[in-house]
Symmetry: C2
DNA sequence: ATAATAAAAGATAAATTAGTCTTTTATTAT
DNA sequence: ATAATAAAAGACTAATTTATCTTTTATTAT
């Protein structure tokens, strides 16, 4: 559904959200461990997320990644869009160059419905909202 | 959502279904034109679909691709599974190694619901069922 | 000022996916 | 039998995605 990069980005951002709520900044090594991702790869990804303002970072001692208030309110959909673009929310299921109402592919109407539901669902999911379940080990970011 | 290979496979199979209903076998060149795909690439893909029994083929003069009765009843979901595997129907949205009920990721329950709807929708869509709309130019396989 | 820390940046490398081109095999019509 | 047709097979190239490693820059505490 999403690229590896995007999957790591989502897990990392949720992980950072949790740590931020606990009041700490978190370093790349711990993030990599916390979400079970390759360390150097998630570093690259976070660099990019930081440039895009999706996560915040501070260099030097006591530095690390964290989320400001606005970032905390971001949705999963926002992050997917920033990383993978909106192909998954807008693109044609059969790969036509443009999903179009006037020249629809055979599955257009049904596919569009599902795509919409996917978007609504991911748009409602705010990164700051998963903390409690994670704390209580009701949900997981690795396994 | 799906790989390029899978998108081409779906369009090609639907295209072949249409031609079969019109009573003709169809060659690779015409398929490539009909669905706007690279000719050699769709050839490779069809080779594979043929080996898997998703489409039927005949060599030599008057040869080409067609669908038998069983293939006509196949669903889009069947083809997606055959080409891309069932990751899109079973895999975790955040990329955990295994989607799991007992150790779910933060979006598991919602994501699972959407994934299920996607499957049901694609499973209901049989390749033989699109012919009429295509004939009447209500739907399209290229643009 | 200096050393330590931690992210940013940059340069490669490996793996996967997408796409192309050539040769071989099977089938049919003459 | 032979030539023509059309898919099957195989070898290769290109592009993209995923991943690794090294160097630089910014920040902090001593
Ligand atoms: S045209 Fe294919 S999904 Fe809209
Ligand atoms: S565990 Fe992530 S979708 Fe089920």
């Amino acid at each position: 559904m999403f690229s590896k990069t995007c999957e790591y980005a989502l897990r990392a951002t949720i992980f950072i959200a949790q740590k931020t709520k606990e009041g700490e900044r978190i370093g790349i090594k711990e993030i990599a461990k916390g979400i079970d991702s390759p360390e150097h790869f998630i570093a690259k990804i976070l660099q990019d997320l930081s440039r895009k303002g999706i996560v915040q970072s501070a260099k030097g001692p006591n530095g690390g990644f964290y989320l400001d208030k606005a970032s905390m309110k971001q949705s999963i959909a926002d992050i997917v869009k920033a990383v993978d673009g909106d192909k998954v929310f807008q693109g044609c299921g059969l790969g036509l160059k443009q999903c179009s109402e006037t020249e629809p592919c055979p599955i257009h109407h049904e596919f569009k419905r599902i795509r919409k539901q996917l978007f609504v669902m991911l748009d409602k999911s705010k990164v700051g909202a998963f903390t409690e379940a994670l704390e209580n080990s009701l949900t997981f970011l690795k396994r």
